[in-house]
């Protein structure tokens, strides 16, 4: 089913989406999207939503199941507190992509902004995954408690900017960040450190990137021309000695 967003208020647009799903639509195409917020907010089940234009903040917030594809750039809060499903962005993502994300995948072809993957968590078989093809801003993976973030630093030659911002993984106490290329220790915040890539790490990265490359039509071999660096927490209980009792 096709819905033209144009200049509709997000309330009106999202109500149309909810009604369409209620009426049995499992596949939706949203066209001329102009910054409407909360698209796919709290939607559940095996839905497929294609978005043309620029969706607004909190795309796919609380989402649990659907696959959302954005043919364009997205704004802040993509996949905020998302439970499961997939969000594919053919352009750039912005700040707090995957904030407190608990499961599912977010694939961004280009760059992402500040505080991406902040406080992501793993729970049993739910392992949230974020992959960005370009660079990431400051505070990547801050408070990270679980899940996987992969930053590739590709499509970046013209900008000549660094792959990572500062304060990477500050307060990290779970999960892992994989960066394509070398990372200077000065980029890391308190709580995180570089670790050698194990065979398990290589396998995880390859598995995730195989799907990522297929989605965006990229050559897997060219991605692996450069080695990956692993960033992980020093402790799962970073604040165990911070407190005392009377």
């Amino acid at each position: 089913m096709r819905i033209v967003a144009n200049y509709k208020h997000y309330k009106e647009l999202n109500e149309e989406v909810v009604q369409a799903i209620k009426n049995g639509a499992a596949q939706l195409t949203l066209e001329d999207v102009n910054g409407q917020r909360f698209i796919a907010d709290c939607l559940k089940g095996k839905l497929k939503i294609d978005i043309y234009g620029t969706p607004g903040n909190d795309l796919g917030m609380f989402m649990d199941g659907p696959t959302v594809t954005v043919f364009g750039n997205a704004q802040d809060g993509v996949g905020n507190t998302m439970s499961s499903g997939k969000i594919i962005i053919h352009g750039d993502g912005r700040d707090i992509v995957g904030h407190s994300m608990r499961g599912g995948k977010i694939f961004v072809r280009g760059d992402v902004g500040y505080r991406v993957g902040i406080h992501m968590k793993t729970y049993k078989s739910n392992v949230p995954i974020i992959v960005a093809g370009g660079r990431a801003g400051d505070f990547l993976g801050e408070y990270m408690a679980g899940g996987i973030i992969i930053i590739l630093g590709m499509h970046n030659t013209a900008k000549k900017t660094e792959i990572l911002g500062d304060w990477v993984a500050t307060g990290q106490h779970g999960g892992a960040i994989y960066v394509r290329g070398e990372v200077d220790d000065s980029k890391l915040g308190n709580g995180a450190a570089q670790f050698p890539m194990t065979a398990d790490d290589e396998m995880t990265v390859k598995k995730v990137l195989t799907e990522y490359c297929r989605v965006f039509g990229l050559g897997l071999d060219s991605v692996f021309e450069t080695d990956f660096t692993k960033i992980a927490p020093v402790s799962h209980r970073p604040y165990a000695a911070l407190y005392t009792c009377e």
């Binding site: 309330k11 999202n14 917020r37 709290c42 679980g146 911070l242 407190y243």
Partner: protein, 500 residues
Amino acid sequence: MYSSVPEFRVLIDKQRCRLCKRCIENCSFGALEWRGDKVKAFDDRCVACLRCVSMCPEDAITLRRTPSDVSAHPVWTENARRDVFTQSRTGAILLASTGNELHESIIFDHLLLDACQVTNPAIDPLREPIELRTYIGRKPRSVEFEAIGDSIKLKTELSPALRLDIPIMIAQMSYGAISLEAHEALARAAVMRGTTMGSGEGGLHKNLYPYSDHIIVQVASGRFGVHPAYLEAGAAVEIKIGQGAKPGIGGHLPGTKITDEISEARMIPIGADAISPAPHHDIYSIEDLAQLVNSLKEATRYKKPVLVKIAAVHNVAAISSGICRAGADAIVIDGFRAGTGATPKVIRDNVGIPIELAIAVVDQRLREEGIRRETSLIASGTIRNSGDVAKAIALGADAVKIGTAALIALGCTVCKRCYTGKCAWGIATQDPKLRSRLDPADGAQRVSNLLLAWSIELKEILGAAGINSIESLRGNRDRLRGYGLDHTTLEILGVQHAGS
């Protein structure tokens, strides 16, 4: 080196003790041990939770405070000295439970309620109806009706509201901070008395879902256990920005307390620290708060009120105005005496302002801006009795929330050791053996009794004042007088001194 003296001495009457060892079994702090032929007490481990005293069949145990007097000093009190000792030993932040211990003067105790004499008749609540029903949510500026045939229909679309039988709600306390049994007891009490309880920020155990139409589900900075089913289950959603016992501070539930079931409710791995960041990382402004409010309204399809909870801090009035304009259906304000399971002591005792002042300034500010009806105001932080409830409402609150009082009803003796996880009464613990000491049905009945008693008393207070509905007491500061309060306090409260 000298170590600080024990706070309590455990005295066991040898004549009465029949060596049944029940006290040893019951002490969860290891203060009593069996030594061949007698019970030996370790005073330094005793927290005066009174479990052994209550369980001794022979009434053989007595606790006494500070048996060794320390040399008195008005500034270097025993507590001040003890804290310095502890920190010089450990180099760590002092943890504390329950509420502010530093400020003993409570404004509620200096406010007096009014009653009718001669000129307008008091109402007898035992014979005449007095309304306590309270609606939490946005009220319309005006209502329009339309006639359809012979019937008249409400044309104005109303915002979703919580319908409470009493203006007393049970506060947000997380499963993790308190036991599943305590959580269930509070939820059942809320159902019994037609009010609500709060999930806290630790998600909702599956056993609590049957009561969820009386549960306000919380969304805090850690987003623990927040998923579609959780949001859809709640009677309302509450965004926690801050709490009175730790304004501006996040929370750390130590990994040692993340048991299998807590891990399931919070949706995090067993044994890993549950860290709630200090701010929400998608909220750095009122506009961002509006975005979270709206995302939750979208997520729940505009069927549930969204509340925002903040600690009472210096700029509480301006912040509340912003929260109201951000679309919150209710603002929950937690005063500086509010309780907690664990907080840095220095924050608990020194940050924030009294709830009485916060209610008054927020109510006043929202009225001045003409937006008071756009939001409800809920006050919490040491509401100890129905008198406090009436005074909070007369100062401008729509309803109050109780935390510590509800836990005391469950059997808490305020030993202030919630952070140890060893609660001997099965409340602030995850130890299965200790948890089994609290029967949810029995606990629910006691909390329900407390709420019932306060409701009856509220009706007495209203009746005496000649008021037949709690709505007419709301913000009715003319029915309050201050006693022994200074001019500035009275001015901020908008209350006259007794006698004037």
